[in-house]
């Protein structure tokens, strides 16, 4: 059995970009872990579906454009956490600068990609809740997968 729990997974960010968009390029970067994460979210691309229904015959379905997806982590807002601060910086970025991200699974498998943070909204809920943040990281490159051990 090779299933694993989400517990122990981590999300980290780097202000630098890889020299080459492969595992070696991403591995050469230094990442700062984003602390106080509750959920990391969904990682992976979606391909648009192009459909054509001819008058005769079955519906035809073709693959269209690729959307690399978006990451919507949930985290407890922490002003003093370096990773969160860099994530907020990426959200405040006025340019289209890309940031590099690294998701590490419990078994050591890694997912690398580059993205832009489209906002860092903070959620103030009821009295007995933690002040949370719900940033959206739009993934702008293919996800590079490195197998775990």
């Amino acid at each position: 059995m090779a299933i694993q729990a989400s517990a122990g997974a981590a999300l980290a960010i780097s202000a630098a970009n890889p020299a080459t968009p492969d595992a070696a390029g991403y591995l050469a970067l230094t990442y700062t872990e984003i602390g106080q994460i509750e959920k990391i979210g969904t990682i992976g691309s979606q391909v648009a579906k192009i459909e054509f229904q001819p008058l005769k015959g079955a519906k035809q379905k073709l693959k269209g454009s690729i959307d690399y997806g978006s990451l919507q982590p949930s985290l407890a807002h922490d002003d003093t956490d370096a990773g969160q601060t860099l994530l907020r910086t990426s959200a405040d970025e006025a340019t289209n600068k890309l940031y590099s991200f690294k998701v590490t699974y419990q078994n050591g498998a890694i997912r690398y990609f580059q993205g832009r943070t489209f906002g860092y909204p903070e959620t103030v809920d009821g009295a007995d809740t933690i002040l949370m943040a719900a940033p959206t990281v739009e993934i702008c490159t293919p996800v590079v997968k490195v197998a775990g051990t």
Binding site: I13, S14, A15, A16, T30, T32, E33, A82, T85, L86
Partner: protein, 78 residues
């Protein structure tokens, strides 16, 4: 071993990667990659050559003294 860069901490922060804490106003010698991230986040700044020359030779953490121009002038003897 990667090269380290002396930096001044502008705002106290924690690095979840290594569970390290950094105090505001102190200097640390950190790896270049970490400095790039912290600098981009506005948490640290690289020390100037003049500030580096005042650091102890062994590179230990040291609090930077306030610039001399902020010190109060001694009162003139009456």
């Amino acid at each position: 071993m990667s090269k380290t860069v002396p930096v001044l901490v502008l705002s106290a922060f924690e690095d979840a990667t290594w569970a390290d804490r950094y105090a505001k106003g102190k200097t640390y010698a950190l790896e270049e990659g970490r400095v790039a991230n912290f600098e981009a986040a506005g948490l640290v700044r690289k020390l100037t050559a003049d500030e580096v020359s005042k650091l102890p030779a062994n590179g230990e953490v040291k609090t930077i003294a306030k610039p001399s121009h902020t010190r109060k002038r001694p009162r003139a003897a009456k």
